[in-house]
């Protein structure tokens, strides 16, 4: 299991050989067209927060949450084209991470983008932010319960 797969699977998994959990984005994140290589690393001990960090020194970094842990009913339909691009034979094999926004540093107003999840194929170390076609899921879903 790669470090990335261990990070995605959670603590208690078999320790992985030391390697950087790198993801290649098949398309750059909208807004950051020059960056395709990111690392996805746990930001907390519980694997409920992750850094999605560009490996380029001037590149962006994001906080992301594993979608299903926070929103168990969140099962968006992923377009077949996106799954093919990611090498996912089964859409259910994709792990969904949603980017967190903390407006003006106000954590109580933190939101999660459910309209455009980052879909990860850990086995192939590929990812892509997939913009869902239907508007049912909000771009800014409050994290506060």
């Amino acid at each position: 299991m790669t470090v990335l797969e261990a990070a995605v699977a959670g603590p208690g998994s078999r320790p992985a050989p030391p390697q950087l959990p790198l993801l290649t984005f098949t398309e750059p994140l909208p807004g950051f067209p020059r960056y395709r290589d990111y690392a996805l690393v746990p930001a907390d001990a519980g694997n409920l927060l992750y850094w999605l960090q560009s490996v380029a020194p001037e590149g962006p970094r994001f906080l992301a949450v594993p979608a299903h842990a926070y929103f168990p009913d969140y099962r968006p339909a992923l377009p077949a084209e996106a799954c093919a691009e990611l090498g996912l034979d089964d859409a259910a094999d994709g792990r969904l991470f949603c980017l967190v926004t903390v407006p003006q540093g106000d954590v109580s107003a933190a939101t999660v983008n459910l309209r455009a999840p980052v879909v990860v194929n850990a086995a192939r170390e590929r990812a892509r932010q997939v913009v869902l076609a239907d508007g049912a899921h909000p771009i800014r879903r409050p994290l506060r319960r």
């Binding site: 797969e5 959670g10 603590p11 519980g46 409920l48 299903h68 932010q129």
Partner: protein, 107 residues
Amino acid sequence: MLTLTRSVGETIRIGDDIEVHVVEVRGGTVRLGFKAPREVAIHREEVYRQIAEANLLAAQVTADTLGALAAFAPSAVAAASVTASPDAEAGTEVDIEGGPSSPTERA
């Protein structure tokens, strides 16, 4: 801006590698088909712009928010889903998807 008038079934070529096909016109709506290399991203402009703006805001997150954000983490996890609960550090058994548990390994 270059404007062209096309009828249903006609095509526009952009550069050497991109084709835009007029597939259907109904009322005030046009259905377009695109043939382009895989690396060319194609989006509805307003949606792309919304996501790009959301990403730009998200990229402003700072590390000092981590502690407070942990307060929003789910405290109980459905058995079918994954990740550990904060109780994991106390040694609670946790259902891990996709890999065997190693009782001796704790973060």
